[in-house]
């Protein structure tokens, strides 16, 4: 059936939470009411990336992109746009007065600077329909590989493309495949790391939700390259939509003969099964992931032997991350030179970042390697809200570090971030403004690592706990002379002697904040002062006698009766009783109460 209009509704986790599924249901009802259900087709897609503005609804052929669509807006879209052909300008994202609405987004910075390779199908196709993937050249790369290329040629293409692992460490993908291809073994495995665990990172989830077939196709290509016939996707159980779409995709691919025996009539057989992770962060570490697939407690094991030689069930295994896989079909189809032409000398292609924190446009963006931090924050992210000053950006999640404002013109690639004491990680990009306390931030990330340490080796199990305890004391005004040195000593030795990457990188948030913001640590320890005004124990709430009108509202709002005074005379706060909850500041109509660092 041919439709005159297609309505794409984002079905990613963010938009689903803001009722995009109800929007689809209501829209279909209204289409029937208006007797145009045979003219307009509503499709739920994967994530568009701009979760901040969701739910997103795009109407084709006009290409009108509506943002923050509510159930109340649906009627208007149906009646005005779909029935009468009049664009609902008030809901348009971007230039509301653009002559050609499809171009309205062109000048929207968030989209303008993006190059979408890994995310090419997200928000464009219905992830639960294999035909739509195929229509977008899906499985053509697999066909090409199986019918026109030898495994060695595939590995050569991967090596020449310069693709490096998108899961964190940035190991060259082609090299990894070559090791596994050369390893001797009657049985080999291809694994996909979909155990995305960095706080705030959700690129893998978006790809799985928006374009699951690209991962399946790339895994089959990898299987052909290394000589494996079985794949496992290790995906977190906390991603129910992604898990479901993977299940649907695997069933469809099997039905179409794109997974299973003798794919494309060749001798190559390959199948994929899912394994659900139970939520341990460490299971994103490759050896722990494989141990978990084997049905054991998810704990890392020492390397060597590396998984390429002895991985899953001691057989040669490759493990790549979801985003890495999502690049591969395009590299095969467009050639390694095309891919290598994007990015910087040692970091080719693009990287997806989850942009969050104190920034206007939070969401998912895919940028060419080499884009500067400034471009990310101001051109794509739309700058810092409330006119605040940019202070630092945290990349790489709990294994990463904080990059200060004076390094804002650094081009983002693997090596630059490492040199600055941070890392690419899986692509977390958390922006911080002047109101952020860097000691508190270090403590936040360390708390995560302490919680997620598997407990196998003492440097991580006890060392991170001890570092956390020191940071906790410092933020509570109990820091002592020597604490910084103690942190440095622990950090250095945990880095050098922990068993796995999780432990070895756990001190990074401390090391990078010490490197760039040592003065803040010193202020906390020696002056008992939190310069950013965040650490509660170091703050004092005071009432400005000149501004206080004596209305008594703050005293009535105070939950611990710490405020007293006579009506119409200035009130005062008993610091001994005050729990620094901030209720008084919120209640004061005269701006008379403030926090003193």
């Amino acid at each position: 059936m041919i439709y005159r209009s297609h309505v794409l509704v984002c079905g990613g986790t963010g938009c689903t939470s803001s009722k995009s599924m109800e929007i689809i249901k209501l829209m279909n009802e209204l289409l029937r009411e208006n007797n145009i259900e045979n003219e307009v087709k509503v499709i739920h897609t994967g994530c568009f990336g701009l979760c901040e503005k969701g739910p997103i609804v795009v109407v084709y052929p006009e290409g009108a992109t509506y943002s923050r669509v509510t159930l109340e807006d649906v009627k208007e879209i149906v009646e005005e746009h779909l029935v009468k052909g009049r664009i609902v300008k008030r809901l348009l994202l971007g230039d509301k007065d653009a002559e050609d609405v499809s171009k309205a987004l062109e000048e929207v910075g968030f989209f303008k600077h993006q190059v979408r390779i890994a995310l090419r199908n997200c928000g464009v196709i219905n992830p639960e329909n294999i035909e739509e993937y195929i229509a977008r050249d899906g499985y053509r790369a697999l066909g090409k590989v199986l019918t026109e290329m030898t495994p060695e040629q595939v590995i050569d293409v991967m090596k020449r493309s310069g693709l490096r692992g998108r899961g964190g460490a940035g190991f060259p993908t082609g090299l990894k495949w070559e090791f596994a291809a050369k390893a001797k073994g009657d049985q080999k495995y291809v694994c996909c790391n979909a155990d995305e665990g960095d706080p705030g990172a959700f690129m893998d989830r978006s790809i799985l939700e928006g374009d699951p077939h690209t991962v399946l196709e790339a895994m089959a290509i990898a299987g052909y390259a290394i000589g494996a016939n079985q794949g496992y996707i290790y995906v977190r159980a906390e991603y129910p939509i992604a898990v479901n779409r993977l299940r649907v995709a695997i069933d469809q691919a099997r039905e179409y003969g794109l997974l299973g025996k003798n794919i494309f009539g060749t001798d190559f057989s390959f199948d994929i099964d899912l394994r659900l992770g139970a939520g341990a962060f460490v299971c994103g570490e490759e050896t722990a992931l494989m141990t978990s697939i084997e049905g054991k407690r998810g704990e890392p094991r020492p390397r060597p032997p590396f998984p390429a030689n002895k991985g899953l069930w001691q057989k040669p295994t490759i493990l790549n991350n979801v985003e890495t896989y999502a690049n591969i079909p395009e590299i095969i189809l467009k050639g390694p030179e095309w891919f290598a032409s994007i990015g910087t000398e040692k970091s080719k292609g693009t990287k997806v970042f989850a942009v969050g924190g104190k920034i206007m446009n939070t969401g998912l963006v895919e940028i060419p390697m080499g884009t500067t931090i400034r471009q990310m924050i101001y051109d794509i992210g739309g700058g810092i809200p409330n006119g605040k000053k940019f202070k630092a950006v945290q990349t790489g999640g709990p294994s990463g570090g904080c990059i200060p404002a004076h390094l804002i013109d650094t081009p983002i690639d693997y090596d630059n971030l490492i040199a600055l004491g941070s890392m690419m990680g899986s692509g977390g990009f958390i922006v911080m403004d002047e109101d952020t306390c860097m000691v508190d931030i270090a403590k936040f990330f360390l708390e995560f690592t302490v919680d997620e340490s598997c407990g196998k080796c003492p440097p991580c199990r006890i060392g991170t706990k001890r570092m956390y305890e020191i940071l906790d004391r410092i933020t509570k005004g109990q820091g002592e002379d020597g604490d910084i040195e103690k942190l440095e000593l622990l950090a250095k030795n945990i880095s050098s002697s922990a068993l796995c990457g999780l432990g070895q990188t756990a001190p990074n948030p401390i090391l990078s904040t010490l490197r760039y913001f040592r003065d803040e640590y010193e202020a906390h320890i020696y002056e008992k002062r939190c310069p950013a005004g965040v650490c509660k124990e170091l703050l004092r709430y005071v009432i400005d006698e000149n501004k206080c009108k004596g209305c008594s509202l703050c005293a009535r709002k105070c939950p611990v009766n710490a405020i007293s005074g006579e009506v119409k005379k200035p009130y005062h706060i008993d610091a001994g009783k005050c729990i620094k909850c901030g209720a008084c500041i919120e209640s004061c109509k005269f701006g008379a109460i403030s926090k003193m660092a």
Partner: protein
């Protein structure tokens, strides 16, 4: 000879076999690298990070698991390496219940030794300590998680060697704790009480349930006739507690020490071992002759019995109905001996000294009370006996040798070799072959069932008669392998000996604890077994049915092996056990 590679350790060229680790190569070169979690063949997981070395990689590597390669350059003793080890050790100590003065492992603690060797002074990283409940509900094993260093040796030995898997890591991060599933009390799990976990523990996190006070109380009670029996494996190991070399026979000194401690009689469990052979041999011959259930499987090892009740309830009928020597002896003491000596059995207090923690569980079995009183009243391990001797101020090493008391102090060499894997089998064969062939055979050493090979098989030709197919397994993992073959009908045997502990009783869970530094280079099982076999060789009577004391017991009291009376006193029964019962204690 295997292929060799050349590597450099601390500037010295070292040749090491392909597939060996840096730790092993360093040992070849005489370079010592400290270790904590590593225990050869049992726990090689690179977890504790004490053995880190610099191989030029981004981070330091654990020598115990890092493979050697041609041209590898290793530094074991740089400031960076030393600092990393020391910081890690201080971190471990910062969450360790450092009650060293009163710890059962004081002076035999691998952590204490490391702290000294690495010159740890003040612990720079004090912080929160775990205060977790102690599990002392088991009659055999006490777990103190506050002393645990999470080296996982106990987990490995329980899971991989014994295939019991009663304990593993629970929780994660700083809260990680070695515990039973769902924090069940060990006593309510399929734990077989073998105590191998205690033997591998580098610290005092695992220990035997101490019954010393019960024994002191009995000894000081003038109304009681306190009798002690000692198992064969005790005499070849107790010397280690007093600094003697592994494998020193201390039978005479041990007897002398027990007499000094005040026991009214000091008897030898070996006498009961001879009794066991008479009963079990008879049972085997009867089963063979009458088409009874085969293979017959030995029942001396209480760890094995519980393992069978949990995991192979379908094989319970294959188990010999014989009680273990410990309990046979107890039953005989409270019946035959009591009558002979004119002592009321209620006044006889039987103490057993065992190389075993499972024996502590065994004496509590309600069915093991043939006379109406428990066969055995208190069971202590070799380690506990050593502590008693020390507490009493006895200078063990200077004691003159003394002999076991009459009338139950004499045993054959067959009874002695019960202490090593294959010993029960060999002892049984010595008697069974004589009985079946009707003559006194000279060839009595069945060497094919000796040694530390996991599963040993022998085909024994009875002169002028049948061929007996026999198999021996020690360590429950090996037992499981053997029993699976039997269950699947892949192999058929007449007689199987199973000992729960690897190496048999000489390596029982109650034996002196040798640290990893010793176990990594010496096979203590083989060394102690040598002493056992030398004691056998030194004896003139080496067959159970030639032991005049045993013959006298039959003559005077039990009539003949397998008699009604013998069954009442010396035999027992078994029942299947639920692995993880709904109703259980939680720790």
């Amino acid at each position: 000879m295997s292929e060799m590679v050349t590597l450099t350790i601390d500037g010295r060229e070292v040749k090491a076999p392909v597939g060996s680790t840096v730790l092993e190569a360093a040992r070849i070169a005489g370079i010592k690298i400290p270790t904590l979690c590593y225990l050869k063949d049992i726990n090689e997981i690179g977890a504790c990070r004490m053995c880190v070395v610099d191989v030029g990689a981004r981070s330091l590597q654990a020598a115990c698991v890092y493979p050697v390669s041609e041209g590898l350059k290793v530094v074991t003793n740089s400031p960076k390496v030393r600092e990393a080890r020391k910081v890690t050790l201080e971190l471990i100590l910062s969450n360790h219940d450092r009650k060293c003065l009163t710890c059962v492992r004081s002076e035999n603690c691998e952590l204490q030794k490391l702290a000294k060797e690495l010159n740890v002074g003040d612990i720079r990283f004090e912080g929160q300590n775990n205060h977790l409940p102690i599990d002392d509900l088991s009659p055999s094993i006490v777990r103190d998680p506050n002393k645990c260093v999470l080296c996982r040796r106990c987990v490995s030995v329980c899971k991989n060697i014994q295939t019991v898997a009663a304990i593993d890591a629970n929780e994660r991060g700083f809260d990680t704790v070695i515990a039973s599933p769902f924090n069940m009390a060990l006593n309510d799990t399929p734990c077989v009480n073998c105590g191998q976990c205690i033997n591998v523990c580098p610290v005092g996190a695992l220990r035997e349930k101490d019954n010393i006070d019960v024994v002191w109380d009995a000894l000081s009670n003038p109304d009681l006739h306190v009798v002690v029996q000692t198992a064969p494996a005790v005499r070849v190991a107790i010397g280690e507690e007093f600094g003697l070399p592994i494998g020193t026979r201390c039978t005479g000194k041990m007897v002398a020490a027990l007499k000094k401690l005040g026991f009214d009689k000091v008897f030898d469990t070996d006498t009961a071992a001879d009794l066991t052979i008479m009963e079990e041999g008879t049972e085997l011959i009867e089963r063979i002759k009458n088409g009874g259930k085969l293979p017959l499987i030995t029942s001396c090892s209480p760890g094995w019995i519980k393992f069978c009740e949990h995991n192979y309830p379908d094989l319970l009928d294959n188990l010999s109905s014989c009680k273990s020597p410990q309990n046979m002896f107890g039953a005989v003491l409270k019946s035959y001996y009591a009558k002979k000596m004119g002592i009321d059995p209620s006044k006889i207090f039987v103490v057993s000294v065992m190389p075993c923690t499972a024996k502590k569980f065994e004496i509590q079995r309600p069915e093991l009370a043939a006379t109406g009183y428990p066969d055995v009243d208190a069971c202590i391990t070799t380690r506990e006996l050593a502590r008693m001797i020390k507490e009493a101020g006895i200078d063990f090493n200077s004691l003159p040798d003394e002999n076991f008391d009459d009338p139950m102090g004499e045993a054959s060499g067959a009874g002695v070799i019960f202490g090593a894997t294959g010993g029960v089998m060999e002892a049984a064969l010595r008697t069974v072959v004589d009985i079946l062939s009707g003559k006194d055979n000279d060839n009595i050493e069945y060497k094919e069932v000796r040694g530390v090979e996991g599963i040993k098989v022998a085909e024994v030709q009875v002169p002028g008669g049948m061929t007996i197919r026999a198999a021996v397994a020690h360590g429950l993992g090996n037992a499981r392998k053997l029993l699976e073959q039997v269950r699947n009908g892949e192999e058929q045997y007449h007689f199987i000996e199973i000992m729960a502990c690897p190496g048999g009783c000489v390596n029982g869970g109650g034996q002196p604890i040798q640290p990893a530094s010793v176990r990594n280079t010496v096979d203590i099982r083989a060394e102690r077994a040598k002493a056992i076999y030398s004691e056998d060789e030194a004896l003139t009577i080496r067959k159970s049915h030639k032991n005049p004391r045993v013959m006298k017991i039959y003559e005077e009291y039990l009539e003949k092996p397998g008699s009604h009376k013998a069954h009442e006193l010396l035999h027992t029964h078994y029942h299947s056990r639920e692995n993880y019962p709904d109703e259980c204690s939680r720790i």
